[in-house]
């Protein structure tokens, strides 16, 4: 059992942060790697990137958006509750190196995945420009941590409620235009965001890393359900990735495969919400 020792609700309860006791994983994990979690015996295996680790206390930090049945179930877990299974660290760590000037772009919960990478790039002596975005001010996460992990921080909201009004891609274009010496871009967020950021950086000829989130099952390269097309070759995101060269990724295929279980996901989520409703009425 993997106990939750700290829990925080972010972005008005749409995003949850958990610190979970998993000493072996905490000792081994590097930026960019993920874990697979299962809440209980009937649960799904859900992949989440480690947003941070505390090897001394044997803790890992996961930050997840509540989007469906399983993440809604995770949200019901309180401090002192535990995940039944936590498996990891999985995937290839980010290849962190000194390139000079870099730009790190994060959207939504992607910011949580981006943060340790940004921090690592800064520690290596890179000049780090960060761009983070959300739909609206209340949904923006980790602003302070991202400010500390970078030299320059740009904030975008779709509705203009905070920072620049508009998408992160527009800010990315501005930054790339003004900084012709940028040697690397790291873009992590929703699939359309990563797709358009990669198109943009390609125009500028800047090498780009993205972190892909296909549906996964085992996370060890055994089932092939996480297959993605990169440079025309089939790759398994759980073992070959999850980070890939954004200029080589077939984002349209990824978008399509992410829709595999839409009807089932909706059914499961609706049933779960209904059962939660019943649970509450029992208590009152």
């Amino acid at each position: 059992m993997f106990e939750i020792v700290e829990r925080e609700e972010m972005a008005q309860g749409t995003i949850i942060s958990n610190w979970v006791r998993a000493p072996k994983i905490a000792k081994k994990a590097k930026p960019g790697q993920f874990v697979i979690l299962r809440a209980n015996e009937t649960g799904e295996r859900i992949p989440l990137t480690m947003a941070d680790t505390d090897p001394e206390r044997g803790l890992i930090n996961i930050i997840y958006a509540v989007v469906g049945k399983s993440t809604a179930l995770f949200k019901t877990l309180k401090v002192g509750d535990a995940y039944l299974d936590v498996i990891g660290p999985l995937g290839q760590p980010t290849h962190l190196e000194k390139v000079g000037k870099v730009v790190c772009v994060g959207g939504g919960t992607g910011i949580a995945v981006l943060h340790p990478i940004t921090r690592g790039l800064k520690q290596l002596g890179n000049h780090v420009i960060a761009i983070i975005g959300a739909r609206t001010k209340e949904l923006l996460i980790l602003e302070d941590k991202m400010r500390a992990a970078s030299h320059e921080l740009h904030i975008c909201t779709d509705d203009g409620s905070y920072g620049h009004k508009g998408f992160v891609t527009e800010m990315l274009k501005k930054v790339l235009t003004e900084n012709r010496d940028i040697g690397l871009a790291v873009c992590i967020g929703p699939v359309p965001m990563m797709k358009f950021c990669s198109q943009m950086t390609k125009e500028f000829g800047v090498k780009t890393l993205v972190s892909l989130n296909p549906i996964m099952l085992d996370g060890t390269g055994m089932c092939g359900c996480c297959r993605v097309q990169v440079g025309g070759r089939m790759q398994f995101a759980c073992v070959d990735g999850p980070e890939f060269d954004g200029h080589q990724v077939d984002f349209d295929e990824l978008t399509l495969r992410l829709r595999s279980y839409l009807p089932e996901e909706k059914l499961a989520y609706d049933r779960f919400k209904a059962s939660l409703g019943q649970g509450c009425s029992h208590k009152s």
């Binding site: 049945k69 999985l90 092939g224 495969r257 059914l267």
Partner: protein, 471 residues
Amino acid sequence: MSEEVKAPKKEKIPRQKMPEQDPQVRRHNFNEVPYGYTPELAMKEAERCIQCKDPRCKQGCPVEIDIPGFIKFIKEGDFEAAIRKLWEKNSLPAVCGRVCPQEIQCEGLCVVGKKDEPVAIGNLERFAADYQRLHGRDILPPKAPPTGKKVAVVGSGPAGLTVAGDLILKGHEVTIFEALHAPGGVLIYGIPEFRLPKEIVAHECRYLERLGVKIEVNAVIGRTETVDELLERFDAVFLGVGAGLPMFLNIPGEHYIGVYSANEYLTRSNLMRAYDFPNYDTPLVRGKKVATFGGGNVAMDAARTALRMGAEHSYIIYRRSHAELPARAAEIHHAEEEGVEFLFLTNPVRFLGNEDGYLTGVECLKMELGEPDASGRRRPIPIPGSEFIVEIDTAVIAIGSGANPLLTKATPGLALNKWGYIIADPKTGKTMKPRVWAGGDIVTGAATVILAMGAGRLASNSIHDFLTYGW
């Protein structure tokens, strides 16, 4: 009773059929297909064995079970003695009785089979094990005094379970490390409930735990810990990680929604119990027209799972003919009875899909059989212009599996062959890396349960020698 079956009439007893669920009923449920022998049926079948002095059947069993020996005890109604006899050579008789390809192993050589049907050795083995599990006394074999030596077993498939079971009895401390959240390997994530109930595998694992074996699940060796780290804490390490790498057809359209590797399809339905969705959270597309590609046990399992998940048509598309199907005879027979439709001499060329990304069909070519190839089987050759389309909404690719590189890549010092399998001494299981042994599918490539167990037995003997005498 015994008067009726006096010696001269003995060979006249026909092979006793195992009662099974009706095909039309069972194609809609996940319960086990055969019910197993009753004690009466088992004793009657045991009468058919003529107790050969130099039993041919034993030569066909990779772990050399004393087959006439255990059958004699069944005949006499001493079922506990029968299971003890089996346990001498085989720690998973309930599993092997169900899944061994008996027709090419033990039963294939049985002398009774020359004129009549062979003695149902597999069914009898299964009976003895089931009887012990359900009605037997709770007996544990004796354990040697502790040696203070520690062994790590990586992977909990038949190879790893065999090594653990052997070495714990010899007094060593044993810890199994398993990447998934449940132990058993293919027995738990691959072979379906209707063929091998998960409770049987769980029972075997609990039995090992009662003997003192520690089982650590969620431990991906190569990631959570490396083999080199295990070597710091353990005196010897056995690698039995199986052949867990899915093969795809590498034809256009394999990304469409509804195209699965057999590993994914079976893991979802078995390990994650997608057949019980939404009571279990993991989903699986419930196809109405499902095609499985391949002709082995894995393909039969997938095609029969598809029926149980509600498919109206479940096809097996295989590029050779019926005679070349590599699956166990019993599985082919069961699949046919349940209504699986076989398209022989047919090879897929591309998958077709709609604009939403859902699979809608597969284009295939007809084949004819040419000259025998290196494997001795006649090589299928495409017939030009014979393209045709099969309408399907789900495809399961069951054309084999390869060596998963996750552990081997993270383990310096292991020697691999050109396909990525670990090179190990076939007599001892020793790898090129000191204090590391390997066996099962990760050495031989995808094979059988009993061969993996046989490899485990050789390795455990060698590990024991090493821990005891230092060689």
